[in-house]
Amino acid sequence: MAHSESLGGDLQLVHLTKSFGTFTAVDDLNLVIPKGSFFALLGPSGCGKTTTLRMVAGLEEPTSGQILIGDKDISYERPYRRPVNTVFQSYALFPHLDIFENVAFGLRRRKIKDVKPAVDAILSLVELDGFARRLPGQLSGGQQQRVAVARALINKPEVLLLDEPLGALDLKLRRQMQIELKRIQVEVGITFVHVTHDQEEAMTMADTIAVMNGGKVEQMGSPTELYENPRTTFVANFLGQSNLIAGNVIDRGDDLGVDLYGNHIRVPRARTSTNSESLWVGVRPEKINITLADKPTLAANIIPGVVTDASYIGVSTQYLVKTAWGEELMVFEQNLANSGAKPGDKVNLSWDPAHTFALDANQDVDAGVEAPEADA
């Protein structure tokens, strides 16, 4: 059959392109997804992540480019001949078949004789023992989701594709299923390719994330790498929140010296993704210390400002601080050693150069700010 252990290998997308008429959904995509990894394609709706997934599944035909598993080209293989299975966004469980038959569907199509032991084993992996004879309509959303995972996993695919698998679940259940899916992935060791617009979901589960925008990969790396050292404004804004301040390079040593409206700050060279003279200098809100103007500052990069808003939200206090040039910066202060700053107070914002990143100024500063569904 299409599937065998020896075929195993990395999933490679080579110059993969998909156009619908004049619209290019996926634009010359090149990716290598290592065997056995949990990989996330993260991006807003319309970024091409689902189209990419559907091409790997065989539900869309590429306009050009190749899809390889190991050294086998599956670009134009029929979906039912690919060693790939999908967990669909809406689960797409067969409503006329009970849970057992839904899960056994793939095995039966491949003429495997004794399906019961395999079905029982996979149902207990997803903790649905005893549900075999129910119909999908009699199950809750979370249970249906697990049936969808079981129905795909039982076929032991080379690659399991997950298309926004948790989108229909409520927040609490989603968190629970994230941990569950991660556990299952570690247990079975199959390559998982997970498509989502939820950055927190991607970061919780994936080893590697590719952030997609406009049919291209903006940046790829581990969750830490992407968050700590974003290389585009889109990534800086889409993954968490960032303060981005316009600046110009004034000296180039081991660190870059950058002038931000008269304030001199430093950025490590390794955290600078451009040779341009004009930059967006970025820092995450939780990396910034806030101190009253008459108190000593805590780190080397310093910008003065006036607090315009302070909201206490339990785990942190979130400040908006207006700078001399009118930009409002976000600061999240842990409620450990509270600075006691109140709206109207003059403060200094300071942060470690190691927490600073610099991006090419030739980009939209607001790219990726609006997450498509504000649900995280």
Binding site: Y80, F88, F94, H96, G106, R109, L135, A152, N155
Partner: protein, 283 residues
């Protein structure tokens, strides 16, 4: 909400009154007529004698027409299913922006009377028609063979006339099928044909059941097709017998007994059919 207790009854009343006057009372009337003394007539009046022999007489005399009716209706239903399923499938999944136009075409025959359309088929199947000439040419039909006035003509007419009743429910149930289920089946190693057999067909069963009932029931009681396309005793169906018993021979008790038996047989067949379909295929 005690004060509104009467409301459901008020809403039901028009329908119940309508059914009582135009359905239940005629049924009683018909039932009574079927037990009248068969020797009465319109002129001399009928005697109620609970003459149950009307039923056995009718059956022993006309069972060939009964059997013929159900055979013709059965074959026509299967033919209509064979024609309508691909048609409904194409309209539901492959027609794109032509969908509404094609649906209008399916219903379009209703703009002309049933009678006129059936008459038109006498021309299509007539001895000198292009179609029959063509069958002669390719030797599919013997030199003096006919289509008109044969069972084939009657079944063709029945198939044609009830095709929309088969197509529309099939379309409705096919159209409801989530295309992602078909994608899921192909993702799970089902070829196009296996996906059709294991997903599309079972999910379209409600349409198949509705369509076959809507075709079989009126087809087995029909007499227009047998009259116009069958043209003779060799193809007459039970509808023809009831028609002539009521309107020509004025044998009311016989006609009523035949009507009741037809009704009872259809109800029995339908119940058995729905039971089977219901337990095996329907969700």
């Amino acid at each position: 909400m005690r004060t509104r207790r009467w409301l459901p009854y008020a809403l039901l009343a028009p329908g119940i009154i309508w059914l009582a006057i135009f359905f239940i009372s005629p049924m009683f009337n018909l039932g009574a007529t079927s037990l009248y003394d068969p020797n009465g007539s319109l002129d001399t009046g009928y005697q109620m004698t609970f003459h149950f022999a009307n039923y056995s007489d009718a059956l022993s005399q006309y069972y060939p027409q009964f059997l013929r009716s159900f055979a013709y209706a059965g074959v026509a239903t299967i033919s209509a299913l064979a024609v309508a399923y691909p048609l409904a499938y194409a309209i539901a999944f492959k027609s794109g922006r032509w969908k509404n136009f094609l649906l209008v075409l399916v219903i379009a025959p209703f703009f002309t009377s049933f009678l006129v359309r059936t008459l038109a088929w006498t021309a299509i199947l007539g001895d000198n028609s292009t179609f029959v000439q063509f069958l002669h040419t390719i030797h599919l039909l013997a030199p003096h063979g006919r289509i008109l006035a044969t069972p084939v003509a009657v079944i063709t007419g029945l198939t044609y006339n009830f095709l929309p009743f088969m197509t529309l429910p099939l379309y409705a149930s096919l159209e409801k099928i989530d295309p992602r289920l078909i994608e899921a089946s192909s993702d799970l190693y089902a070829s196009a044909f296996a996906g059709f057999r294991k997903v599309t067909v079972p999910l379209s069963m409600p349409g198949v059941v509705a369509g076959t009932l809507l075709t079989f029931i009126p087809a087995s009681g029909d007499y227009i097709n047998a009259t116009l396309l069958g043209q003779g005793a060799r193809t007459s169906m039970i509808g023809n017998i009831i028609d002539s018993a009521f309107l020509v021979r004025l044998a009311y008790p016989l006609a009523a007994a035949l009507s009741f038996m037809l009704m009872a047989t259809i109800v029995t067949l339908v119940v058995v059919y729905i039971r089977r379909a219901g337990t095996e295929e329907l969700v």
